[in-house]
Amino acid sequence: MTCRELTELLVEFYEGDLDPDVREVMARHREICPQCEGFLRTYQATIRLTEGAFRQPLPDAARDSLDSWILAALAESRTG
């Protein structure tokens, strides 16, 4: 397995969709290739950081303003 081939399998790897044989070949490559081991760790970290980036909250004032606007629209729709 080349480094390119391992990289191309990463979505399947994290989805748990790889055949056991392929997982085994991938594991052996990772043992002898610190570049790919590092790449896999940074790929995994990218997924975590992406999720975290979307979770960062709006500033309080912006959030309050947004909530008020939504609740006003809801109140109007209930009376309309």
Binding site: R63, W69, I70
Partner: protein
């Protein structure tokens, strides 16, 4: 009431308790706005999407099944609202962009040294500058990549759910997700490699 679980609040709201639904609005408006912002790339559109999503959720609340996740159901409504808006108001022509990713030699080996900055990741989870860079990288992706990474890595939809939502094969979903993640990873590598 603020501490009640989602499904308890939905129960109350379905029985006519408006205050219960308002708790859900306050609980999720920020995240729905984040979905809207990541898809639409501008705050005004994201605010519109957020309001539309909650209005739609309120109107359809009687259809919500208690066995499901309210959050996932709400996020699906928000995503659909984004997709409708994006199809109707194509913001700019889809110009093919070069999506950044790793380079490989003819032998299939990494062309450039891989710096493992992953140990920094957990420490930097709250770093606003980092978050801004990730969000702007995703905002600059072509629509077809941006939608997939938002649905996968933020909404945690399955490959099949994403394929159903976007009318794509699972294979296409995986390809687009991979390329979007590689683009974000390249941006993070530029930002973090010097600190690792």
């Amino acid at each position: 009431m603020n501490d009640l679980p989602d499904l308890d609040l939905v129960d109350l709201a379905q029985a006519g308790d408006n205050a219960a639904f308002e708790v859900l609005v306050r609980r999720y408006s920020g995240r729905v706005h984040a979905i809207g912002l990541s898809m639409m790339r501008e705050d005004a559109a994201a605010r519109d999407i957020t309001q539309e999503a909650f209005l739609s959720a309120w109107r359809k609340l009687h259809t919500f099944r208690q066995q499901a996740s309210f959050r996932a159901w709400l996020f699906r409504i928000a995503t659909n609202a984004c997709l409708m808006k994006m199809r109707y108001h194509r913001r700019r022509p889809e110009v093919p962009l070069t999506i950044r990713g790793p380079g490989f030699s003819d032998d299939g080996e990494h062309e450039r040294p891989v710096v493992d900055w992953s140990p920094l990741a957990d420490k930097l989870m709250e770093d606003h500058e980092l978050g801004n860079r990730i969000r702007s990288t995703i905002a600059e992706l072509p629509d077809k990549y941006r939608m997939v990474i938002v649905l996968a890595d933020y909404q945690h939809l399955s490959m099949r759910e994403i394929g159903d939502a976007l009318d794509l094969s699972i294979s296409n979903v995986k390809t687009r997700l991979h390329r979007a993640r590689l683009a974000v990873r390249e941006e993070l590598s530029d930002y973090l490699a010097g600190r690792a």
